[in-house]
């Protein structure tokens, strides 16, 4: 299972053309054995295509890949695997109904004669998980695990195939701070063993924490490669976007008004006895580890899961919701964590997604007034700067940032007083992130109450007026603005756990 030394890989003039689109235009890159090589770029910069070419999932139109001195013009998935190239994609390749150990060994089960050797598989898988700093029962069904743990299984699976070049596509995106730290440890250990690692990420802090060198792609073109010590965050961001962009979080003169939302004794869906108040114009952050109950709390407030007990009031009125529809009626909105599965109907147009919650209001004598719908969609596309040819564009074709803006447009059109954002910028590139933050601030300035769940510590600290920290479904404390530090959040979030 140990990495048998990494591999040198050289990409020369890799070009990938799709009809009408040049996804990669002559990218040349050198990956050295035993280095952590970060690749950064906005969505659409060509990172995903580059990964697919390296993994043999798509053939390059031209160019070659040299692996340990052997030149290939075309890789197949099988060939790439035999060369020791493994990819941790953002979308996992796990079978939910199989156990963690079975997933790790999927395709090369250990056997004793003709019988599966479950004991050995369980033992080895458990060792792998321990090495990744996480305790996962090897016999648990993968479908029962949270996204974060599933990813650990995915990484263990790649390692069990003697990977020598591990390509990690935004591995930290679904992880909480503690898990990210554990994952950094794994990357360091693998690097020490000589593994070559390609690390794709949007997050500057982890690139500077992990990478030896960093290459920048922009619009399918190779821009440059820098040693990590020779560059700065600001320079990288400017190289990625091709223009000057302010780093960090937009400043906001926060002036919270009266208490709007009051939650008391909220219990159900894995959370217990949650109490808090949120003010109009406030961004109230929710911190905690994966499984801390933050998403579950949001589901309760939004009526997506049944409440066992507790009271929720908005400006004095009870707004306990028995369904999302009821919550929307109470002027509560939820931009969910998994926007592709829960936030949008991907096959629907921008327009149809925006009007979905209140399409009935567009009906005159039973007929939906498409002109009025169109006018509304046009308005939000302009207001939120949704980049698409028209409101008829299918949402599945948009970038993550634009998809999230469609989710926001949908909710803004319901005139919510309380907006719950669950991981508002996950998988969204730098430029669009800044816009999402700007929109969130503007909404708070309008006097709406914003609840924001985030596992991105910088984002949580940068955006929140106050932070409530949960752990194992129980509220650990509320941090006022001046008390918020990475340490104070983590101290509450991870008490008793190894960070």
């Amino acid at each position: 299972m140990s990495a048998p030394g990494g591999i040198d890989v050289r990409l020369s003039g890799i070009t990938k053309e799709y009809p009408g689109v040049v996804a990669l235009g002559g990218v040349s890159l050198e990956l050295r054995a035993g280095e952590v090589h970060a690749i950064v770029g906005e969505n659409g910069a060509g990172k995903s295509t580059l990964i697919k070419v390296l993994a043999g999932a798509v053939p390059a139109t031209s160019g070659s890949i040299t692996v340990d001195g052997q030149e290939f013009t075309k890789l197949t998935p099988a060939l790439a695997q035999s060369l020791g190239i493994a990819v941790i994609y953002q979308e996992f390749t796990l079978v939910p109904s199989l156990t963690a150990a079975e997933n790790v060994f999927l395709g090369h089960f250990l056997k004793r004669g003709a019988v599966l050797d479950r004991k050995s598989m369980d033992r080895i898988a458990a060792e792998q998980f321990a090495r990744l700093g996480v305790r996962i029962d090897p016999r648990v069904q993968v479908g029962e695990l949270t996204t974060g743990y599933q990813q650990i299984v995915e990484i263990a699976k790649a390692l069990s195939r003697n990977a020598r070049l591990l390509i990690m596509d935004e591995p930290s995106a679904p992880l909480t701070a503690a898990e990210v730290e554990a994952m950094y440890g794994v990357v360091d250990a693998l690097k020490a063993e000589g593994m070559t690692i390609v690390y794709i990420s949007h997050r500057m802090d982890e690139i500077f924490r992990l990478a030896d060198r960093v290459s920048v792609l922009r619009d399918g073109q190779y821009v440059t490669t820098r040693g990590i010590t020779e560059t700065t965050r600001r320079e990288l961001i400017n190289l990625m976007v091709g223009r000057e962009l302010s780093d960090g979080y937009p400043q906001r003169e926060s002036a919270p008004g009266d208490v709007s939302l009051r939650v008391s004794g909220l219990t159900g869906n894995g959370v217990q006895d949650i109490h808090f108040e949120a003010r109009a114009g406030e961004i109230l952050g929710f911190g905690g580890l994966i499984g801390a109950g933050r998403t579950e709390l949001a589901e309760l407030l939004f009526g997506a899961k049944p409440l066992e007990s507790g009271e929720v009031t908005l400006r004095g009125q009870s707004v306990v919701a028995r369904s999302p529809r009821a919550a929307i009626g109470h002027r509560i909105a939820l931009a969910p964590e998994d926007r592709k599965r829960h936030g949008l109907v991907l096959e629907f147009s921008i327009q149809d997604n925006i009007t979905l919650p209140h399409v009935a209001e567009f009906a005159k004598a039973g007929v939906v007034d498409r002109k009025a719908e169109r006018a509304l969609a046009d308005k939000y596309m302009a207001d939120l700067r949704i980049k698409a040819p028209s409101p008829n564009e299918i949402v599945g074709n948009l970038s993550g940032g634009n998809q999230q803006k469609v989710v926001l447009a949908k909710w803004l059109s319901t005139a919510p007083e309380v907006l719950i954002f669950d991981e508002p910028t996950r998988g969204i590139d730098v430029g669009a992130r800044a816009e999402i933050y700007r929109i969130m601030n503007a909404l708070a300035d309008e006097g709406r109450t914003i609840l924001m769940i985030s596992s991105d510590m910088e984002e949580l600290i940068g955006m929140s007026d106050r932070i409530i920290v949960l752990r194992e479904g129980i509220q650990q404390g509320v941090l006022a603005k001046e008390e918020i530090t990475q340490e104070s959040v983590m101290a509450l979030a991870a008490e008793g756990e190894i960070v």
Partner: protein
């Protein structure tokens, strides 16, 4: 835009199949294009076409209703006995028949929505139950002897146009209206594409799903009445196998069994193909058993095409399975 264009091309492709079939049958059988035969076909497809509207709705929500065939059986037997044995006036019997259809559909919808059991299994069970009920009610005997006025619905004509064709046209107009112009139609597509996103967007998923099965029952009852009127007799076997003809027509017409996609225009072409095929094969004296094999092969081909077309393959990966096998659970959650 692109997908719309592709959808249109798919519609045109299936239209081409229809044209080829018509040409082939008119060459092979001199009687095929005879006006009386055309008249015949329109009456024969009336029931199929009407049931296909409700069935398409259900498919678009990601469900399926396999019980439509025996819904027809129960409906014709009950309605027939109301008229012939209980002396209920025909118009009242028609109304009761529609109520019965909505009732059966609503039961399907309630079970699918509140238990989370796959629509395929729920309606398959319902199919057996209804089959049994139809025999219990009729005691296995044919039912006949209806008022003369009643036969006008399925056999009569107004200004040379068969009444059943007129009913078909009205039902199709209603179907098109509901699907394309009303919030309900939008909900059907939203639920079929992503029931959880729809629910979290405030779509009343439970009410919509119950409604869709109720509507399917209503349309099936309308089709059953026309069939009863045309045949002038009813028995428990009347609707047997009908679900597969409807499924074939809808899937041929591009209504995806995975939900969320398809148009009534396509389904209508599918109905015409099945109708022409039924008629043409009989004209050519093809044996009933051979007909079964042909129809089975056509259904299989259409379903395979649906499942392997590029769009569907991507969708299946995305949503993690054929939705008719799992949709209810989420809607009920």
């Amino acid at each position: 835009m692109k997908s719309m264009l592709m959808g249109r091309m798919k519609d045109l492709g299936i239209l081409l199949v229809l044209v080829v079939l018509v040409i082939a049958f008119s060459i092979l059988s001199p009687n095929f294009l005879d006006p009386s035969n055309i008249f015949n076909i329109t009456r024969q497809i009336a029931t199929l076409g009407i049931v296909a509207v409700g069935f398409s709705f259900v498919l678009i929500t990601g469900g399926i209703d396999l019980s439509v065939g025996y819904q027809i059986s129960v409906n014709v037997v009950v309605t027939g006995m109301l008229m012939s044995q209980l002396g209920v006036p025909w118009y009242l019997a028609v109304i009761l028949s529609l109520v019965l259809g909505v009732l059966i559909g609503t039961i399907n919808g309630l079970i699918v929505t509140f238990t989370g059991v796959a629509p395929l299994i729920v309606t398959l069970s319902m199919m057996m139950i209804l089959n049994g009920i139809s025999y219990l009610v009729s005691k296995g005997l044919p039912v006949f002897g209806f008022p003369r006025e009643f036969s006008f619905l399925g056999q009569g004509a107004v200004a040379g146009i068969p009444v059943s064709l007129l009913v078909l046209i009205v039902v199709w107009a209603i179907g098109l209206f509901v699907l394309n112009k009303t919030p309900l139609g939008r909900y059907f597509y939203a639920i079929g594409n992503n029931v959880e996103a729809a629910r979290l967007s405030g779509v009343p998923t439970r009410a919509t799903l119950i409604t869709v099965y109720a509507l399917c029952g209503l349309f099936t009852a309308i089709g059953a009445i026309l069939l009863l009127s045309r045949l002038n007799s009813a028995q428990s076997a009347t609707g047997a196998g009908f679900e597969f003809s409807v499924l074939t027509a809808c899937v041929l017409g591009g209504i995806s069994v995975m939900g969320g996609r398809g148009s009534l225009f396509g389904a209508f072409v599918g109905v015409l193909i099945v109708g022409v095929l039924d008629n043409g094969l009989v004209l050519l004296n093809v044996s009933e058993y051979v007909q079964l094999v042909i129809k089975g092969v056509i259904l299989l081909t259409a379903v395979i095409y649906d499942a392997t077309s590029k769009n569907s393959a991507g969708r299946r990966k995305q949503i993690g399975g054929v939705s008719i096998f799992r949709q209810g659970a989420k809607a009920a959650a």
